[in-house]
């Protein structure tokens, strides 16, 4: 579903990612671990079509993102670290607004269903988003992607700043989405969460994918040691 082939991208002469290749199958979650500046966000922005690789190619559902940006974006849902919704609208109004932008008009009942699926509690639907916690906003963000019938979810540091309960709810939600056939790329610092949620884990360092492993092959401690080792070298 997601394929990156030898992609290189530099900003002002400095390589943000270098010769990066990776692929994610349908129904799979890949976690990208890396320090700040490792190239995680650049990778996601390339997949979103907001930046294009200087060399190499990026594909989603076999479509070259640089060439078919518009078509590709129809398949993508993006959940940034901070889902900044319109604070003067309620959760359900935000969802309705973003759905309408994408040309989808849902009944209130359907919108509520999306929010429930994404874990938002009923009594919060009609509250202004300005009163929401970070985790609640994230759920609405995922609901926006979900309502769009997204095939690919790109998450940039989704667990950052979430309390353990919200973080756990996020893990459950992501697994549910994958069970429904979604493909997920999750960039994170959170080794424990990545290991728990993802099928595979890639370690990015200075724009290079230095290690790729299956989650089930390592324990949380082993993964932590491995990550630290790569970061030190």
């Amino acid at each position: 579903m997601i394929k990156i082939e030898n992609a290189t991208k530099s900003f002002q002469g400095v390589n943000a990612i270098e010769n990066l290749s990776l692929s994610i199958e349908k129904g799979e979650i890949l976690g990208l671990l890396g320090a700040n500046g490792a190239g995680k966000s650049t990778t996601i922005n390339m997949l979103l079509g907001f930046i294009h690789p200087d060399s190499g190619s990026v594909f989603i559902d076999q479509m070259n993102v640089s060439e078919k940006t518009k078509e590709v974006r129809k398949l993508i849902g993006y959940i940034p670290e901070n889902v900044n919704l319109y604070p003067y609208l309620s959760g359900i109004e935000n969802l309705d607004y973003f759905c309408r932008l994408a040309g989808m008009k849902y009944e209130k009942r359907e919108l509520e269903k999306f929010l429930i699926t994404c874990g938002l509690q009923n009594n919060a639907f009609n509250n202004k988003v300005s009163t929401y916690s970070k985790g609640m906003r994230q759920k609405v963000g995922i609901a926006i992607a979900y309502a769009k019938k997204t095939k690919v979810y790109l998450l940039d540091e989704p667990a950052s700043g979430l309390d353990p309960l919200a973080s756990n709810e996020l893990s459950i939600l992501l697994k549910k989405l994958v069970a429904e056939g979604a493909t997920i790329l999750m960039a994170s610092h959170d080794i424990f969460r990545v290991r728990e949620v993802c099928d595979r884990i890639g370690i990015l360092k200075k724009g290079n994918l230095v290690k790729e492993i299956r989650s089930r092959d390592v324990s949380a401690n082993e993964l932590e040691n491995l990550y630290i080792e790569y970061m030190k070298n």
Binding site: N45, N84, L85, L89, L101
Partner: protein, 469 residues
């Protein structure tokens, strides 16, 4: 696009600070319109009172020959145009009372500025001030962070992923800010129309429509350019600074620089120089009050020949009246020559100033606003021209009465009947029709259109070059 516009308008509606500003602005606008209308009513009332009193005096002139009445003269008052409460233009500085008398063309006096208390000379609350300076500033403050805030919050990515196009977002943001400006403008014009409902003719309606159009275009330019800057810069402060810089240059520096340059390019003679030239030319003509004047002697000879008599005492008419009228007509020629030149220079100055709208749409807005509100110098000159034409007809009628009314040459004690004075129509100013004056502002409205198209192009290229990250 409408979905985004609706959301933007809702965000404006939810903005308490903006709500307070809007209410304050509306109250100030209402106050300025009402003050303007009270001023117009007071002006019209005093004008009518003075006019009636003068007419009564005129119709009951006694102990004065006809030429004496020409020296006695009369006063005309510049009427307050209905649209002046929207933009009073040059009216507050040009004066509104003009004495009409024989031999001289007086200057209009009693300007509002000359009557003001010192403190109010610094400026008063005017609709034009609010519409031209305050409202564009509000639009700038509303628009400067419209795109940059979406970028900074990361919402822009979400919007684009939901298939909203950059250009659509820029247009929607511009239009929502513009619609807010239009709402306040519409409110102003509607209130004004409602208050003056019974006086609104097709002519006033057309003026109002173009007045509205000029402001609507200017607000679009301001909104569009501010959103363009907001899209170009990641930092909203840079966008705000850029647009405020442009606004200051447009409203403060450029108009003054352009006006000073235009005055240098098309130099007007100084007041002393002008009066000295007029006096010199006037001295070359016939002196109506001096029977020994050489030209007066020539005219006398021609008149004697015309009537087939040898002595002025044998004339069946009063030659003094003919001589006075000849003096008047020569004076009129001198006035036409000098004021004609002056008007040509003024017209060139106006044209050059209008062309400066190429660099500054604010200049075009000011010209169009004053022009469509019938309060610019062009309309003022039209009043002066009509007053001068009336003066000429009046003085000619008086001199003709002196000459042909029944008296003989040298008989300065002969007085016309009061019916004669009553037969002279009072001065009535005919406002310039919209269709006649409108072509003068074609250049301003065209430049505002061109600027709007340019702004659209900026928005188009801005969308293409907009950095999302």
């Amino acid at each position: 696009m409408w979905i985004i516009i609706k959301n933007e308008l809702y965000s404006l509606y939810r903005n308490n600070a903006l709500l307070a500003i809007s209410i304050g602005f509306i109250l100030a606008l209402l106050l300025s319109i009402l003050l303007g209308m009270v001023q117009a009513q007071n002006h019209t009332k005093s004008y009518e009172q003075a006019k009636n009193k003068l007419r009564k005096q005129w119709e009951n002139i006694e102990g004065m020959n006809a030429h004496g009445a020409a020296h006695y003269g009369t006063y005309v008052f510049k009427p307050y145009d209905l649209l002046n409460s929207l933009d009073e233009g040059v009216n507050s500085v040009t004066g509104n009372v003009l004495k009409l008398e024989g031999h001289v063309q007086n200057e209009i006096v009693y300007s509002e500025a000359s009557q003001m208390q010192f403190i109010s000379k610094f400026g008063k609350l005017k609709s034009s001030l609010l519409l031209q300076y305050v409202l564009p500033l509000i639009l700038i403050f509303l628009a400067f962070h419209s795109i940059s805030s979406e970028k900074q919050s990361g919402r822009l990515k979400l919007l684009l992923l939901q298939e909203a196009k950059s250009l659509t977002i820029i247009w929607a943001k511009t239009l929502s800010v513009w619609l807010y400006g239009l709402a306040l403008l519409t409110f102003t014009v509607s209130i004004y129309s409602l208050i003056n409902l019974e006086n609104i003719s097709l002519d006033i309606g057309s003026r109002l429509l173009f007045f509205y159009l000029s402001y609507a275009l200017f607000y679009f330019i301001i909104s569009g350019l501010t959103v363009f800057f907001s899209a170009q810069y990641k930092n909203a402060t840079v966008a705000l600074t850029s647009m405020l810089g442009i606004w200051i240059v447009w409203t403060i520096f450029l108009p003054n620089i352009v006006m000073s340059s235009v005055e240098k390019w098309h130099d007007l003679p100084s007041r002393n120089e002008f009066q000295a030239d007029m006096k010199e030319d006037r001295s070359k003509g016939l002196d109506g009050h001096n029977p020994l004047d050489e030209r007066a002697k020539d005219l006398e000879a021609k008149t004697l020949e015309k009537y087939g008599v040898n002595d002025i005492a044998d004339l069946p008419i009063n030659f003094d009246g003919i001589r006075m009228q000849a003096d008047e007509e020569y004076g009129n020629q001198v006035w036409d020559k000098h004021f004609g030149n002056l008007n040509n220079i003024l017209a060139k100055q106006k044209q050059s100033y209008q062309l400066a709208g190429i660099f500054n749409p604010f200049i075009s807005l000011k010209n169009a606003s004053m022009g469509f509100a019938a309060s610019d110098n062009y309309h003022h000159q039209n009043f002066l021209k009509q007053a001068e034409n009336y003066r000429r007809r009046l003085i000619k009628a008086l001199n003709d009465e002196h000459a042909y009314g029944g008296s003989k040459t040298g008989d300065w004690s002969w007085e016309p009947e009061s019916d004669f004075y009553k037969s002279i129509p009072d001065y009535t100013y005919k406002p310039m029709s919209f269709s006649y004056s409108a072509p003068n502002y074609l250049i301003d409205i065209s430049l505002l259109f061109i600027w709007s198209v340019l702004t659209s192009l900026f928005m188009f290229f801005g969308a293409r070059k907009m950095e999302i990250i």
